[in-house]
């Protein structure tokens, strides 16, 4: 594009104005990047939980146990595809003040239900065959610097062994990843058998069950069947979708999403006014020059494009630098392990970036349209004689 130099020169002719306008856009998109990532981190748990997974917990409270016998009973219910169970371990590594997510699970069925977890075949076999084996999410392995084959003592702040020890010896069998980068991999999974046979709380109990159905349309029916089956027993159940379960869990911070959206919208409208005004003034100052260009033979549409390109370039300049700085800020923040353990999904996703890009283009188009239109319609004769 031959006009690019011209656009660039026009854009940079008033350095102070360029800086101030760019800075306003920069701040807005910096905030957009940060807040978007924050909102994404809160939402991730809800959004990424599969809607067709059902979770079965004790009706009294989800921290109350269920009998292991329920597992086979649920498996037999019509419409249930795969079912697995898990126990919350209350895990930590060396430092009790740094709790981490660790669950005792039935390996084979758990990986059937959570099919999005990726683990190579060798690791899989190692884990299945090693009673003390555990698999660790990539995020957690990175945080603690664990590699396959490492012997790691994992402690529990809930359970103890017969000798009074709170610590279990485990071996890293494999490191799993998730197909979707936003999926939380900041947890570890180990054998239910190892757990249940060594802890002193009781035998043959599980924390909760998770299952998939043959068809999401069957979910409600299956959930009712499960709860009906255990009604009036000593441990009644409550079955809901994983999404609903997680949502209830995160509901307390749910309104944060609304606040974030409001802040971002307010910032966007503010820069719309700032940038719109700056562009309007910049083009009005150049009325005579635009008239000269049209006299030289630049067509009205070309002049329109020139002005619009300038405002889009301005938006991209401020916006992209804002997003870039937000990205590196988030990288720095999430390199702190404490923050990563609270908000494992705090990252500037491709989705946020593309949304921001769309907003930048929108900003450029909206703020550039009126000046570009005026430049296009400018009466050359009047503009030349008046100046």
């Amino acid at each position: 594009m031959k006009d690019l130099y011209l656009i660039y020169k026009n854009l940079t002719r008033n350095k102070l104005r360029l800086f101030l306008t760019c800075f306003a856009i920069f701040i807005a998109f910096f905030l957009y990047g940060l807040l978007g990532a924050l909102k994404g981190a809160f939402d991730a748990g809800i959004e990424l939980s599969a809607d067709d997974r059902l979770i079965v917990v004790n009706k009294i409270n989800f921290t109350q146990p269920l009998p292991l016998a329920y597992f086979n009973k649920v498996k037999a219910i019509e419409g249930v595809k795969d079912v697995s169970h898990a126990n919350w371990f209350g895990a930590y590594f060396q430092d009790q003040r740094r709790p981490m997510v660790g669950m005792a699970v039935d390996p084979e069925t758990y990986l059937q239900v959570y099919s999005e977890l990726q683990l190579d075949e060798a690791s899989l076999q190692r884990w299945f065959n090693d009673r003390q084996g555990m698999i660790v999410g990539e995020a957690m392995a990175t945080t603690y610097g664990w590699k396959v084959g490492d012997r790691v003592p994992i402690s529990s702040n809930i359970f103890s062994q017969a000798d009074g020890s709170h610590t279990w010896d485990m071996v890293v069998s494999g490191i799993f990843t998730a197909e979707d980068k936003q999926l939380d991999t900041n947890y570890l999974l180990f054998h239910y058998k190892y757990f249940i046979e060594t802890q002193t709380f009781g035998s043959d109990w599980i924390g909760w069950m998770v299952l998939t159905t043959d068809d999401p349309a069957l979910n409600e029916q299956v959930a009712k069947a499960i709860d009906a089956l255990f009604a009036n027993s000593s441990s009644e159940t409550e079955t809901s979708t994983e999404k609903a379960f997680n949502k209830a869990f995160i509901e307390q911070i749910g309104s944060i999403g609304f606040i974030l959206t409001s802040v971002v919208m307010a910032a966007f409208f503010t820069i719309l006014l700032i940038v719109g005004n700056a562009m309007f003034l910049a083009i009005r100052e150049r009325t005579r020059e635009i008239a000269v260009m049209k006299t030289l033979g630049f067509t009205a549409t070309r002049v329109f494009r020139l002005v619009l390109s300038e405002s889009i370039l301005l938006s991209l300049l401020g916006g992209l630098s804002g997003i870039l700085v937000a990205y590196y800020t988030l990288e720095a923040v999430t390199s702190i392990p404490q923050i990563r353990s609270i908000l494992p999904n705090l990252l500037l996703s491709k989705e946020i970036f593309l949304q921001a890009l769309a907003y930048m283009l929108g900003l450029g188009l909206i703020t550039g349209f009126v000046p570009a239109f005026r430049a296009m319609r400018l009466n050359t004769v009047q503009a030349l004689t008046r100046g």
């Binding site: 031959k2 006009d3 130099y5 011209l6 020169k9 026009n10 940079t12 002719r13 005579r288 020059e289 000269v292 260009m293 049209k294 006299t295 030289l296 033979g297 630049f298 067509t299 009205a300 549409t301 050359t380 004769v381 030349l384 004689t385």
Partner: protein, 231 residues
């Protein structure tokens, strides 16, 4: 070759509507300009000199009448076709130079070439030639603010001739310059006419400037009048 008609104005009328009044500037104006002419147009302020020049350059349209350029009626052209026509055939030189303040002399001269299908090196060559012709090649990298009025006008002339137009339209090109600088500019214009066979139409109210032209027309109240004595 020299008496080949380039421009023909046939029954041109031009009027403006000001409020509820219609102000007529030209009524049934006829004239023709031959290839290679150097025409000076003089006349009192407000007599319509600029308006005439604007119509010749296709920036302003007559209210009535035909403007024939090489036989084509350009008053019938659409706005975008007219813009293309200007880029191809017309060079403009203004009283106040009208250069882009943020562009260097070379980049200012380049502007009309952006409207042509030329690559960077072709453009560079044309720019060099044009700047050399006006004697400003060593100022190519300077922005207008770093140049004197005469130098700026020379850049403007280079911009006007860089795409090799058929006709140069000059609206009081020396109106803002001192005598010595004005002479320099006029000599360049004369050179363009005599050596490069460019057709020039120059509006001026300076009789000394008009002497450089091969023919002078006097415009008064929208009509060409005979001047008894050239002063």
């Amino acid at each position: 070759m020299n008496d080949q008609v380039l421009f023909e104005l046939k029954g041109i009328s031009k009027s403006f509507v000001k409020g509820k009044q219609e102000i007529s500037i030209f009524k049934n104006l006829n004239m023709s300009i031959n290839k290679g002419d150097f025409l000076a147009i003089m006349g009192p302020s407000g007599s319509g000199k600029t308006t005439l020049l604007n119509m010749l350059g296709g920036v302003d349209q007559p209210t009535k009448g035909d403007l024939l350029f090489g036989g084509d009626n350009i008053s019938r052209y659409s706005e975008s076709k007219l813009a293309q026509w200007r880029a191809d055939h017309v060079g403009f030189i203004f009283q106040f130079y009208n250069l882009m303040p943020m562009l260097t002399a070379a980049r200012n001269v380049e502007l009309p070439l952006l409207l042509k299908n030329l690559n960077r090196s072709q453009r560079k060559k044309s720019i060099e030639t044009a700047l050399k012709l006006v004697g400003l090649e060593e100022r190519a990298k300077h922005i207008p603010a770093e140049l004197s009025g005469g130098q700026q006008q020379r850049v403007a002339i280079a911009r006007a001739i860089v795409s090799d137009p058929d006709i140069l339209l000059c609206d009081e090109p020396t109106g803002d310059l001192d005598r010595k600088t004005a002479v320099e500019i006029l000599e360049i214009l004369q050179l363009l006419n005599s050596e490069f066979n460019k057709t020039l139409v120059m509006v001026t109210h300076d009789p000394e400037a008009a002497k450089y032209a091969s023919q002078t027309l006097h415009l008064d109240k929208g009509e060409f009048v005979e001047q008894e004595l050239a002063v």
